[in-house]
């Protein structure tokens, strides 16, 4: 069948700089670069280039540049190059288009249209270098009433809580979708930072049980890797009902990624596809969710908080309200810009709603119903920097999950081809020669640095607002103003426009 595909990129190589060391050739798992010995020239097959920049970063003479392919079809405002190319691909393959990471489409990013307040004159800003500035939060359920013993002393009647030194956690990314070294980096960083990482639906490698106190284990529709020891070792259990990048559908880890180690962690045979069904087949309604929540609590003697993770969809406020009444301690909501190791392109780019709007309406609904205190809210789906964290918390979140940002800290260049399994940065791959490129010793330090840097910035922003504990920021929407948002958007976000 004829192939009409255009390359996405062009490889520009400065011959005056190239020393024919062939690093690019050895580093590129996509086999873009090759050496023509006869003519002593480096060649490039641009169609294979995914724009991951591994060759650019490692070229010792900076001879390489990857640029956008400048060729184009006849200009058409309706039919973009992308639309045309996708049709060519589907006409050749007859298949569903696959993509990775969050949608690159230009949907509104509400975080970028929200501005943060600061103190002037009437109350003082606080200098975090001189005064204590608290970023510690606890996630979990709060009972309605206090209890006292016969002497009047307060009884600790709090259900299990997760204590976070800073309201940031690493999102669910399974061992299988990402590498052993990526997992080790996340686990060690979470432990050092006093936060949590999340196994995703991939089971837990036996080497990582020692990080259990900082591990959230996931129970998803495929139930891969779930057994008593897995639940017991964790700090919390997350039931994954949905994912922001692919609401309403399950997951598919292709057999080639099910290596010996992955197969053991997932408890499935080597080389078989790991298919997570779209729904949990024991949850067809809210009362079924309640049963799973309590089954997991029973199995772990009510010692661990249970998180229910859902994708941000149109009716999210009512869904979250239902979850809050189903025994969940924490609700995690994943916005539609959230990342994925592989998702059907059409789903990723067209299903779900932005996290900012979902968060605002869920927080409001839970308050209207008087049950916001019963659960903690964790939000995900493209938290890109510390300002996004601050805005999310002021809108009403207790904490944020970061996935893509964590991977970028590990070296991910957002080439969005995780589903191909040939990650040149050793992250989204199981190929041993690629995995070893990610040194967990360096990786975990980069993650610690990232979160520490964000923590510093959060403290500066808090101090500017005259707030010395992040608890006093939660739901504090007066600290936010919108710019360039319409009345309806402001109403949903529950914030005023700048100047008001």
């Amino acid at each position: 069948m004829p192939n009409y595909i255009l390359p996405d990129f062009e490889v520009e190589r400065r011959d005056d700089r190239c020393i024919r060391c062939r690093v690019c050739e050895r580093q590129c798992a996509n086999e873009v670069h090759s050496y023509d010995e006869e003519n002593d020239v480096m060649l490039a097959d641009e169609l294979k280039c995914v724009g991951c920049h591994r060759c650019v970063a490692l070229c010792p003479t900076r001879a390489l540049k990857i640029v956008k392919y400048s060729g184009t079809f006849r200009e058409n405002a309706n039919w973009s190059n992308q639309s045309i190319l996708e049709i060519y691909k589907q006409a050749e393959s007859g298949g569903v288009l696959l993509s990775s990471m969050g949608t690159p489409n230009p949907y509104p990013v509400y975080f970028d249209k929200i501005l943060i307040n600061a103190s002037q004159v009437t109350n003082p800003s606080i200098d975090p270098l001189r005064e204590p500035m608290e970023t510690r939060v606890f996630l979990g359920k709060r009972p309605q009433n206090i209890e006292r013993d016969e002497t009047g002393k307060l009884n600790n009647n709090l259900p299990p809580q997760l204590e976070l030194s800073v309201p940031i956690m690493f999102s669910a990314m399974s061992y299988g979708s990402i590498s052993y070294n990526a997992h080790e980096s996340l686990a060690r960083a979470a432990t050092e930072l006093g936060i949590y990482y999340n196994t995703g639906e991939g089971g837990l490698h036996e080497d990582f049980y020692k990080y259990g106190p900082n591990t959230i284990v996931q129970v998803a529709s495929g139930r891969f890797g779930v057994h008593k020891g897995y639940l017991d070792v964790a700090a919390a259990i997350e039931i994954k009902m949905g994912q922001g990048a692919k609401p309403g559908i399950g997951g598919h880890l292709p057999g080639e990624k099910i290596t010996e180690d992955v197969s053991r962690a997932r408890m499935i045979p080597v080389g078989t596809d790991a298919i997570s069904p779209a729904p949990h087949h024991d949850i067809y309604s809210i009362e079924d969710l309640r049963q799973l929540v309590y089954s997991l609590k029973e199995a772990t003697e009510y010692k661990k908080p249970v998180i229910v993770k859902v994708a941000a969809v149109h009716n999210i406020a009512a869904i979250a309200s239902g979850i809050a009444r189903s025994g969940a301690d924490i609700i995690a909501i994943d916005g539609f810009r959230g990342g994925t190791g592989a998702a059907p392109t059409r789903i990723r780019d067209n299903v779900g709603i932005p996290i900012e709007l979902a968060l605002a309406s869920v927080d409001k609904r839970l308050r209207d119903e008087g049950i916001r205190g019963n659960v903690s809210l964790v939000v995900a789906g493209s938290i890109r920097n510390s300002a996004d964290v601050v805005k999310a918390i002021a809108l009403g979140a207790d904490a944020c999950y970061i996935g893509t940002a964590a991977l970028i800290a590990l070296g991910c260049h957002l080439c969005r081809t995780c589903h191909l399994g040939k990650c040149n940065w050793g992250i989204a791959t199981q190929r041993p020669d690629l995995v070893k490129r990610l040194n967990p010793e360096i990786g975990y330090k980069r993650l610690v640095n990232l979160v520490t840097a964000w923590q510093h910035e959060i403290k500066e922003l808090l101090g500017g607002m005259g707030i010395n504990s992040i608890e006093a920021l939660r739901g504090n929407r007066l600290m936010l103003r919108g710019v360039g948002l319409n009345e309806k958007e402001l109403e949903i976000l529950g914030i005023k426009h700048a100047g008001e």
Binding site: T122, N123, P132, E134, R136, F138, G373, S469, E471, N476
Partner: protein, 366 residues
Amino acid sequence: MKLVEGRVRIPSGCAISGIISRDRRKFTGERIVESMKVMRERSNGLGGGFAAYGIYPKYKDSYALHIFYNDSNAKRECEAFLNEHFEIDEASELPTRKIPEITDEPLIWRYFALPRPSRLAASQLDEREYTARCVFAINARIDGAYVFSSGKNMGVFKAVGYPEDVGRFYMLDEYEGYMFIGHGRYPTNTPGWWGGAHPFSLLDFAVVHNGEISSYDANRRFIEMFGYRCALMTDTEVITYILDYLIRHVGLTLEESASVIAAPFWSSIAKKPPEERERLTYLRTMFPSLLVTGPFSIIFCFEGGMMALNDRLKLRSMVTAEKGDMVYVASEECAIRAVEPDAENLRYPSGGEPVIVTLNGGKDNA
């Protein structure tokens, strides 16, 4: 549009003062007015007020409702509501003295009332909760009517003006009580409404506050889950509701409530003995959204005493002193010296350290 409380949020600086006789000896309101007078610099004439305890012995078992009316229509509508929900012993205009410094007064009425027994029984609420909900209903639903005082044997007196003028206007020198608090306001905006002056009060709780809290909206949105409506958008209002919630609904002690709203830093908690550490950790974990940040000094009064409290960093001044059975709290020492030159045990309480004064022979808590 007039910029009034409830439509805009108006930050203020302020002066506060409080005087209590622990032996419940009565003295006139003149002293609190004198105390406030020397702090004139701390207000700007846009709000002053007082709360006085023990002033209505004749009606001590009835709720004394002080109400502002914009006009007679509001009064008519509100009185219909009151008659439906309460048995009213006495209704009269609140006595005032015409003085040139205080103008544009609304209609100011006082009712001594008790819940109608049949209504109260049908509501399945206790008497205080029933009364509180009626107060909320009037303030939220009846346009032009505002209940600014609703306790037993106590009353709030407030207006737009300097505190000493407000005291003269309400003839505070003619009231005798065992505890008074005063407030002078320095709003950074132009409120035109008397209801926005302080103290803020609910049932026998009254709060005067100096500061601008940065946690306002976090606190407001949390407390509104429990039926409170922060209609004025002022810090004092939300702090009053937080204390009412923690003390009356949750059942915390004053000291425990102070550990919630001006919680010690985690670093301080870590240095406490284990039992205290556990208690403070519990309170912070249980009520994180009621932590109040930003500068404040408050005096919180209830029938049985008062609590003075500073924010956790002590970003606002506050002094306490004693003389015999009398205890004084004020923004500045001069406000105490003005009424008790021989005051003893002068102290500057640390940030977050509650100073709790209860009546001798009374209960230890609100």
